[in-house]
């Protein structure tokens, strides 16, 4: 991992159990500014739990979660709000406010966190909605939108206040190939524009590798990596190798295995 970049999120030996079930067993992770880190892994391995620790929604049983140098467990409400004001989050189930229109959903961060007047808000919201290809959808309610559109509204809301860090929890789950490509395109375009640090939880392998700087695998309650996508795919770590084999097929795994495969054919 590059050491010249500022580390903005750091997990140090984080342990977390729910009842008797150990979900995180000494997780370590550093996320440098301006990069895209992807956490992959099978469902139910605790990927979203890691994300919730970074967001301060869950507190570790032991270990530290540091964001912008602050230990989240030590932060009071005001500090926490300060930290979160540079966050943007796209939740797995999007969590749009279902009794508000698309427009009000996207406008909410501006209304609650800035002193902008309604005119300025309208300009900013329409601008973001246009960027997401959602012109003319302002008055619809979340229940009237398709899955892909909801994700785009969620993304528009997450990016409303130009966040420094954006968290994506399964951004393409439940979408078809075209729709998920669209989300990836929007992600790429907005990251180029706003230069935010991205943390993505996904199991859309291998497509997600193209967008990532670092990939880490969540397995057996521990995080393996982060490694660059190329190194990740060729890793000797048996858990990573199994995951790569399982999700991408043997052809991607390594040259040795590739030749082995040809020999057996």
């Amino acid at each position: 991992m590059k050491q010249d970049k500022e580390i903005i999120i750091e997990l140090k030996d984080v342990h977390k159990s729910f009842g008797s079930q150990k979900v995180l067993d000494g997780v370590n992770l550093q996320i440098p500014a301006g990069t895209t880190t992807v956490i992959v892994g099978a469902s139910g391995q605790g990927k979203s739990v890691i994300l919730k620790h970074m967001l301060g929604l869950l507190k570790p049983d032991s270990g530290q979660v540091r964001v912008f140098g602050h230990d989240l467990a030590q932060c009071n409400k005001a500090d926490m709000q300060q930290i979160r004001s540079s966050f943007g989050v796209l939740f797995q189930n999007i969590a749009l406010f279902d009794s508000m229109s698309v427009y009000d959903n996207v406008a909410l961060p501006l209304r609650e966190r800035t002193h902008s007047n309604e005119k300025q808000i309208r300009v900013a919201v329409e601008d973001k909605l246009a960027l997401m290809g959602l012109e003319g959808q302002e008055d619809k309610f979340p229940a009237q939108l398709s899955g892909g559109m909801k994700k785009r509204v969620g993304l528009a809301r997450a990016l409303m206040l130009d966040p420094k860090v954006v968290f994506f929890d399964e951004p393409t789950t439940g979408l078809d190939v075209n729709k998920s490509n669209e989300i990836y395109r929007l992600f790429y375009r907005t990251q180029q524009q706003l230069n935010y640090t991205a943390v993505i939880v996904s199991h859309d392998v291998p497509k997600i590798f193209k967008l990532s700087d670092y990939v880490a695998l969540m397995a057996n309650s521990r995080l393996h990596g982060p490694l660059s996508p190329e190194v990740f795919q060729l890793s000797d770590n048996p858990l990573i190798r199994d995951f790569v084999l399982e999700t991408m097929g043997p052809i991607y795994s390594s040259e040795t295995e590739e030749s082995l495969l040809y020999e057996t054919l």
Partner: protein, 265 residues
């Protein structure tokens, strides 16, 4: 021996659950009050909630008030007639309404109408991660969601109780004067001479306390839906918790009715 330790453990866990739950309720109220007192103050959300809790409850309040007053007129006339003192009907109706029935019945009606809706709304927002989304957007859910409801209930409840009392007194008048042979002058004169300032004071204090209990219990139960012991998940979780909130708030109103009466008598 094993059975004994099992019961001790059960007792311990029940006690812990009890204290944790009531502690959480207390902290919830404190946090909401602090959120209410912290500037900047926004008027529109409070007005919207006054409309929901107050104005939209008007029909129910007027109807129940009218029929309560009419029943009091009937029963009061029956009782007072035995002692030959029907001249006190106005006073009897007014005092029972102002001190007791007005605040209690109005509160029970508002709990059934608005309290259940508040609990379900907040509970669904908790269930679908909308409250987490607010927190991650650095929007304090207490300030945004709970404080306007709290203030609106404190404003609406005394006003609703006033309307209940006035309509109830009119209902008693309809029965006493128009159905039976109580003179209109005697009805109002008796009321004028016997209703004292302390009666109104007690009615006001009760309506204030009941408004607080209604919004406190119903929103707290919804807010902590995910911590419900028997699982606050899904539609069933919301419905179960809403029922519990309505029952708990109604019982609390009757208990506090006794306490306030005992203290202020």
């Amino acid at each position: 021996m094993k059975l004994v330790t099992k019961y001790i453990a059960l007792l311990g866990s029940e006690t812990m659950y009890f204290f944790a739950w009531y502690g959480r309720l207390g902290l919830f109220l404190l946090t909401s009050v602090f959120a209410l007192l912290r500037p900047p103050y926004k008027v529109m959300p409070v007005i919207r909630q006054i409309r929901f809790i107050g104005a939209n409850s008007l029909y129910v309040i007027v109807f129940t008030g009218l029929f309560t007053g009419m029943v009091l007129g009937l029963q009061g006339y029956y009782t007072l007639n035995k002692f030959g003192s029907i001249g006190f009907l106005g006073a009897a109706v007014a005092i029972s309404l102002i001190r007791e029935l007005g605040p209690v019945l109005a509160a029970l009606m508002v709990i059934g109408r608005a309290g259940s809706a508040i609990c379900a709304e907040v509970g669904i927002m908790r269930n679908s991660e909308q409250i987490d989304a607010l927190e991650c957007m650095a929007i304090d859910p207490f300030r945004y969601l709970i404080a306007p409801k709290l203030l609106a209930a404190l404003i609406s409840m005394p006003l609703l109780v006033c309307i209940f009392d006035v309509v109830g007194i009119f209902g008693g008048y309809l029965v006493g004067v128009h159905l039976f042979d109580v003179g209109a002058g005697a009805y109002f004169q008796g009321m004028y001479q016997n209703v004292v300032w302390q009666d109104l004071e007690m009615g006001f204090v009760k309506s204030f306390v009941f408004g607080l209990l209604m919004v406190w219990i119903s929103s707290a139960r919804g807010f902590y839906l995910h911590l419900e012991r028997d699982g606050g998940f899904g539609a069933e979780g919301v419905s179960r918790t809403t029922t519990k909130a309505v029952v708990m708030a109604s019982v609390a109103v009757l208990v506090w009715d006794y306490l306030v009466s005992a203290i202020m008598l």
